[in-house]
Amino acid sequence: MKLIRYNPSLLMDPIDSLADFREEMDRFFGHTFPAFRGATSPIWSTPCPINLYREEDRYVLRAEIPGFDKKDLTLEVVDGSLILSGHSHREDKSKKLEESSEARFTRTVPLPDEVDATAIKAEYTNGVLTVTLPKRPETKPRQIAIDVK
């Protein structure tokens, strides 16, 4: 039996390590066997890092997902969560490179209760998807006048 030394660093952040490992394997296969290049990418999804901000009357989510066309992106609200997804497949138009590229990702973000799911807006610029999530009017802070008698 072969013993493998316990490596705690792998357990520090499993998601990160997995992503690194995935990238490493993609790179390895892509460079060692160029024919696999297109074959490995659809299996592994593209990362989709997000930042979330809060403003007085809305939340704003920014997601970095370069390389997609607007039509390749989908936004859905399912069961109180925002689901961002994208799938693109394109052949190299110039035909100079004998490869096509395929990319996909899915990211689920639980939404705060106070978000008005019917008023969500999104735009895609320079590879960044910006989603505006307005708060429902009744949850916005408001001042209540107190009558003094």
Binding site: H31, R62, L97, V128
Partner: protein
């Protein structure tokens, strides 16, 4: 770093606290093509410069967080992109071309005439 991409490029370490974009290098008979993922950078904020033997790509993140916004969750670093690649004699440095589409920068580096494949006529 030993992450050699193709025989013609070599990663040069940068001491500046910037983010190295995820990038790829592919090769055709006529050129090398670099694709780098630099989301959040406007066309006007990208710079592709040849500095000595290095191809230096910098991209400034155009968007800045407004003061009255509170950051609740962060996965995107607020730093600029920088990628430095060493060029060798196989690249024609005068004919570099670049374009930015949906956050992906593509830089085309035509090969020098001397290294392009050519057919040699055999005289009888």
């Amino acid at each position: 770093m030993n992450t050699e991409k193709t025989p013609s490029t070599e990663v040069v370490e940068t001491p500046v606290p910037t983010q190295q974009p995820v990038y790829d290098v592919t090769e055709t008979p006529e050129e090398f093509v670099i694709t780098a993922r630099i989301p959040g950078v406007d066309r006007s904020a990208v710079e592709t410069v040849i500095d000595g033997d290095d191809l230096v790509i910098t991209g400034k993140r155009t968007w800045k967080q407004p003061d009255n916004w509170k950051l609740l969750h962060e996965e995107i670093p607020a730093v600029d992109y920088r990628l430095v690649l060493r060029l060798d004699h196989r690249v024609n440095r005068d004919a570099l071309k670049a374009h930015l589409t949906n956050g992906i920068l593509t830089v085309m580096l035509p090969k020098a005439e001397a290294v392009k494949p050519r057919r040699i006529e055999i005289s009888s």
